[in-house]
Structures are given as C-alpha cells and as structure tokens.
C-alpha cells in the first residue's frame, strides 16, 4: 500500500499547458476517482503518477519519496490501460502472469493468483487464447486481470470499464470495489462516468481543463458542489439550473416568491435588499410531488409547473416540466399520475437547493465568509 501526493503539478506538451497546479493527496488504502470530461487532464495526471510522462513542474510523491526521477518500472505500480495494451503475441495466461513472473513470484503463487483472477473475471475458458481472438470486453478483463494478480503498491485504472456492456460493467464495478475492500491497495481510478465515480470512490476528484474543480467524498461532491460545473457534471440527470433572483428572505423564480428557511444576514455573501441575479440549482431527484407530502410543511413550493413530457423509468418517473419560460427536469414518485399538458405544484427542500453566482458559477453558500 502506498500514499500518493501531488504537489503543485504542472504539465505542458510543447507550449500547451494541460495541467495547472494540481494538488492531490491520496491516503494509504484509499480509492480515489478522477472524473471529468474528455481532455480535462485526468489521464495525464494518472500517467504522471505512473511515470509514463515527465512532470514539467512540481513533485509526485509516493510513500513520502519524490519519484519524479524514478523510472516507471521501479515504482511498483500496476495499471489498466484504456486501450487494454495487451501483449499480442502472448496468450491470456501469459499476459496476466507476465508482471508477476517479472517480480519473481513463485510458481505456486502465480498459479493461485491466476486461478483467482480468471475466476473473478470469467476468463477461465480462454486462458490459451491470444488477444486477437477475444472481444473488446474480454480483452478489457484480461487487462484487469493483469493488475489484480500483482502485489503492487498502487493500482491505476484508466477508464477500465469503458468497453464493457452495461451488465458486465456493473458486475465489474462491484468486483473492483470488493477486491479493493479485500486487499486495500491504494487505487486511483480515472473515468468520465460519474456513476462509477460515485459508486467506487472513497474520494472523488472532479477535474476540468487541467484544474481540480473539487475533491471530496462522493456525497460531499453530490450534495455540496463548489460550482455550476461540478453541480451539473455529477448526478444523472444533471442538476437543474434556473435563472432566479435571490433576496435576503426569498428567491424570485418566474414571478413566484419562494421563501428561504432562514434570512440571509447582510454580511453573508452580500445579498442586497434589491436582490441579486443567481442560478438556482435543484437536483431533479429532490423534487417531490405535493400530493405525496403527507402534511410535511417545511418544503418549498414551485406552483403552476406545466408538464411537457412524462417518462416512466420503472423505479420512478421523470418529467420534463416548464415554469414560465424555463424548462427543467423532475424525478417523482412512481405513483405520480401527472399527464402531459397538465399543471402541477412541485415541492423541494430549500436546504438542498444551491445558489450559484451568475458570473463565476461559484456556489454562494460555500464561499468563505
């Protein structure tokens, strides 16, 4: 197990700086997920840790040792590559045990590990096949197997589930989580899939344009996003962003005054008496149908919401709705009988709503006082 620390990391390719001042701490045994859209620098960060790219400025520290000058093969790291990177001339068995053999493991250990990995990854019937004879998903599992058998200090995963079908992805996700719980090997996992990020990570790091936008536990990221980008990137469907005006006592949304639970003090993020334009962020999952509130009175209410589209999802029901000229989504109880074209009232907990600065996109409530 290893701890990893990135200190003020900058990375440039020629004149293009792709990582700007990355600071990250991964504790021993933690499972950290780097998540962000394509080109945000998450894979580059992973490659810097692996030693496959050189750091332009800053320090990569593994187990309290600066490893900037240490070759990748001396870092004792195992990695799953997004494009599998299997050895085409070796069969599945040889691919999986190659690293273990290089590390000088005994035949007994190699046999046991291979047996276990091939069982978990359902590769037992194809150990003698060459990568070219496997499907994309099978190759991806071989790449996973290559990592799982190793006694590495650190596991790095670069979008390892991106080529699997939905069922296998779900199964593998649980498997990765279970394996991590068993071995507690420090792991850093790159994905653009926020469901993977939320379900796998002890800590989620959201990146954009070479910067870390926010890091924290999955629920922290979900419930307290720093800014509009994090708020909309994490969560599916993404958080609704409604144009509104915030006053010390209420929010004005499409002419409706929605009272705040507590008056915002003057000194807190400077809400003038005449109000301030904001983006009101409410997750679709946090809406409730007024009909099923059972007398709960602490909820805020948006009235005269017009239902545009009803999509039953099985577990719940998703509505495309409109208030005034603004469209947004709401996920409601399956019992909701709203029909397209009808008008309903939607309730939400104001404590779960977010107020974002319209220019900087920052979450006003999370700004330092």
């Amino acid at each position: 197990m290893a701890s990893v620390k990135l200190n003020n990391i900058y990375k440039s390719f020629g004149d293009v700086e792709v990582l700007h001042d990355i600071n990250l701490e991964v504790e021993e045994g933690a499972f950290v997920v780097l998540v962000g859209p394509s080109g945000c620098g998450k894979s580059t960060t992973l490659r810097l840790i692996a030693g496959l790219e050189d750091v332009t400025r800053g320090e990569v520290i593994i187990n309290n040792r600066v490893v900037n000058m240490i070759e990748p093969h001396h870092r004792n790291i195992a990695m799953v590559f997004q494009n599998y990177a299997l050895y085409p001339h070796k069969n599945v068995r040889e691919n999986i045990i190659f690293g273990l053999k290089r590390a000088g493991a005994t035949k007994e250990l190699i046999k046991n590990r291979l047996e276990k990995a091939s069982r978990i990854l359902e590769l037992r019937d194809m150990l003698d096949r060459k990568p070219a004879q496997l499907s994309g998903g099978q190759r991806q599992r071989v790449a996973m197997g290559r990592v799982l058998v190793r006694d590495a200090d650190l596991f790095l995963f670069d979008e390892p589930l991106s080529n699997l079908d939905a069922k296998l992805r779900h199964q593998m996700r649980s498997e990765i989580r279970r394996i991590h719980r068993e071995y507690r090997t420090t792991s850093i996992y790159v994905t653009h899939d926020q469901v993977e990020a939320m379900t796998l990570g002890d800590k989620v790091v959201v990146m954009r344009d070479g910067l870390i936008e926010q890091q924290g536990s999955p629920m922290e990221i979900y419930l307290k996003p720093n800014n509009i980008f994090v708020a909309t990137f994490i969560g599916a469907p993404s958080m609704n962003m409604l144009d509104a005006r915030l006053f010390p006592d209420f929010v004005l949304l499409e002419g409706q005054q929605i009272p705040l639970k507590k008056r915002i003090e003057k000194d807190h993020f400077l809400i003038p008496e005449k109000g301030r334009d904001i983006k009101l962020g409410i997750r679709p999952d946090f809406f409730r149908n007024e009909v099923f509130l059972d007398g709960e009175t602490s909820m805020s209410r948006i009235e005269d919401v017009k239902v545009d589209l009803v999509e039953p999802l099985g577990f719940d029901i998703e509505l495309d709705v409109k208030v005034g000229a603004q469209s947004f989504k709401a996920r409601l109880d399956l019992r909701t009988s709203a029909k397209e074209g009808e008008t309903i009232n939607l309730c939400f907990d104001m404590d779960r709503a977010h107020f974002f600065d319209i220019e900087t996109g920052k979450n006003l409530f999370l700004l330092p006082l």
């Binding site: 093969h73 004792n76 195992a78 494009n83 299997l86 050895y87 001339h89 190659f98 690293g99 290089r102």
Partner: protein
C-alpha cells in the same frame, strides 16, 4: 465485393500472369536445365535434357571422388629415361597431379556464408537499436541523423570503392586477410544498415507504444521491453531485414573483388564464380550448376521466410 470479371477477362488475366511468371522464371529454368545437360546436349534448345547429368553437381559438392589421372604410357616410358633428373621428373608428374582445374566450390560457399551471416547479424543487431531510437526516442538531431543514414545509401558503391580501399591500405588492414575481411564486413554492414534502419524503424512505429508502457508497468526496463515484447512482435520484419542483409552480402562482387583479390582461398562465391567463368575450366554444366548452388541459399531463405512473414503480429493488443 463479388468477382465481376467475365470468363474472357479471367483468361486474359491468367495469360498475363503466366507471361510475367515466364519472363521472371525463364533465366532460372535455363540455368537449371543447362546445369543438368550433358556435353553433347548443350546445343539442344530444349529445356529438358536428353540425359540428366549430375556430374557437375557431384564434382562441385565433392561427392564424387576425382578419378586419379592416368599417366599415359609414352610419358611413363619417357620418365624411365635415366637422363632426366629427379627434379624434372617431379615437375612432369606434377602437371598430371595438379588439381588446379578443381573448383573449390564448398570453400567459397563457406566463405560467403560466414561473411554474409556475420554481416547480416551485426547489421540486424545495430539496426534494432538504431531503428528503435529513431522510432521511439526524442533527441536533438534525430531527423538529421535519420536522413544522413539514408544518404549513405544514395552514394553508389563504385564511387566509394577506391577511397575505401585506400583507407584500408593506409590503416594497414588491406595487407592481411583478416584485415581485408574486417574491412569487407564493415562495408557490408554500412551498405545494408540504412535500409535495415528504415524498414525496422517503420515497423517499430506500427507497434503501439502503450504496449511498451504496459511492459514498464509490469516491471520491464526499456531494454527488457525491447527484448521481451518488441522483438518477439517484430519477428517477421527482423527476418526480412536479416534476409535482405544476407542476400546483399551474398551477392556482393564489387568490393570483394578489390579487397580479396590477392587471397584466393578466401574468395566469396560471386568472386569464385567470376574466376570460374574466365578460367580454362569454364564448362557450361559446371558454371550453371555452380550458379544454381549459389542461388540455393537465397531460395531457401525465402521459402523459410515465407512461412513466417505473416504480418499483423501486434493485432489485438490495443483498441483500434
């Protein structure tokens, strides 16, 4: 797509292919035919010998024991003459024992084989590292070096022959056989290296770099990754390059004729063949069977290589 050629078109195509094949193969068939013909059959334009004659092959390969030359009775009687000194007698006998008409094919063959194999092996070894550095490493002056190497290939051998021999004489290599062989070896390596570098470099570029990165993650240093991953993946191209170098050295005449001129025992096959062509022993079946045997390693190389020259060894390793 389905085959949309009509029957006449197919016939035409087959005829064209046959014509090209005939054009390419005829000289070889002619060599084989002549090598198998008996002396009485040489004037016969037919490619099929009236009677198959393998004597020339047997002689060249040393399979048949050369018959002891009979000394004519008149000469024997002459030698009995007591007036002829012992020295003179020996001299006369020597003319009958002389083996100067025996063509040392196997020796030349071995000389050529050793020289070509050494040159091809060293060239391949150097090309692996050179090509790897061209294809994978980023260093200042890489492009200039890369182009410079190819430039060597553009200069004809004739232009370089005299200066190279002069250099060899001046540094004292040309006066000994080992020095001359070493010079020749260097020349063959330098001659074959540009194309070897080019071919291998292009092949290495086709192997995804992430496979090497995976090897690094599995604990391999760069050299180990080359040895354990890159080279096994490049076997077809390594063989191609080796055969290319081998054949260049095997067929080389120009430099060998200059550097080995004075060392008859170390003649290579092309040099030996040339000396055979112009000697008093230039008999058609012998010349042609020697040519045929010279072609043999080249044919064998290709036949062997064909089985292994299947591309796409790196298929399936990475997501396309």
């Amino acid at each position: 797509m389905t085959n949309r050629r009509t029957i006449p078109q197919n016939l035409l195509l087959a005829l064209a292919i046959c014509a090209v094949l005939l054009f390419c193969l005829f000289p070889f068939v002619q060599i084989l035919s002549t090598s198998l013909k008996h002396q009485i059959d040489w004037g016969n334009p037919s490619l099929i010998p009236i009677k198959v004659n393998l004597e020339a092959y047997k002689e060249l390969l040393g399979i048949v024991k050369k018959e002891e030359t009979q000394i004519p009775e008149t000469i024997k009687r002459l030698l009995d003459n007591p007036l002829i000194t012992e020295e003179k007698k020996e001299e006369i006998l020597e003319t009958y024992r002389s083996t100067s008409d025996v063509f040392p094919f196997l020796r030349y063959f071995l000389n050529s084989f050793l020289l070509s194999t050494s040159a091809a092996s060293i060239s391949l070894f150097l090309a692996v590292f050179g090509a790897y550095s061209f294809s994978r490493l980023r260093f200042k002056g890489r492009k200039i070096v890369q182009r410079g190497v190819l430039f060597v290939y553009m200069v004809g051998g004739v232009l370089l022959m005299v200066p190279l021999y002069q250099i060899s004489v001046k540094i004292g290599l040309a006066k000994s056989i080992w020095g001359s062989l070493l010079s020749l070896l260097f020349i063959y390596i330098i001659q074959t290296l540009p194309v070897s570098l080019y071919m291998l470099g292009n092949y290495f570029r086709s192997i995804p770099y992430s496979i090497e990165e995976a090897a690094a993650m599995d604990g391999c240093s760069r050299l180990e990754a080359i040895y354990l991953i890159i080279l096994p993946l490049s076997v077809p191209m390594l063989m191609t390059v080796f055969i290319y170098c081998f054949i260049i050295a095997w067929n080389e005449y120009l430099f060998a004729s200059v550097f080995l001129r004075q060392f008859h025992d170390f003649y290579t096959i092309p040099l030996g063949l040339q000396s055979l062509f112009v000697s008093k022993n230039a008999i058609w079946d012998r010349i042609m069977s020697a040519s045929m045997l010279t072609l043999l390693p080249v044919i064998l190389c290709f036949t062997f290589a064909m089985r292994h020259l299947t591309g796409g060894l790196s298929e399936g390793g990475v997501k396309e």
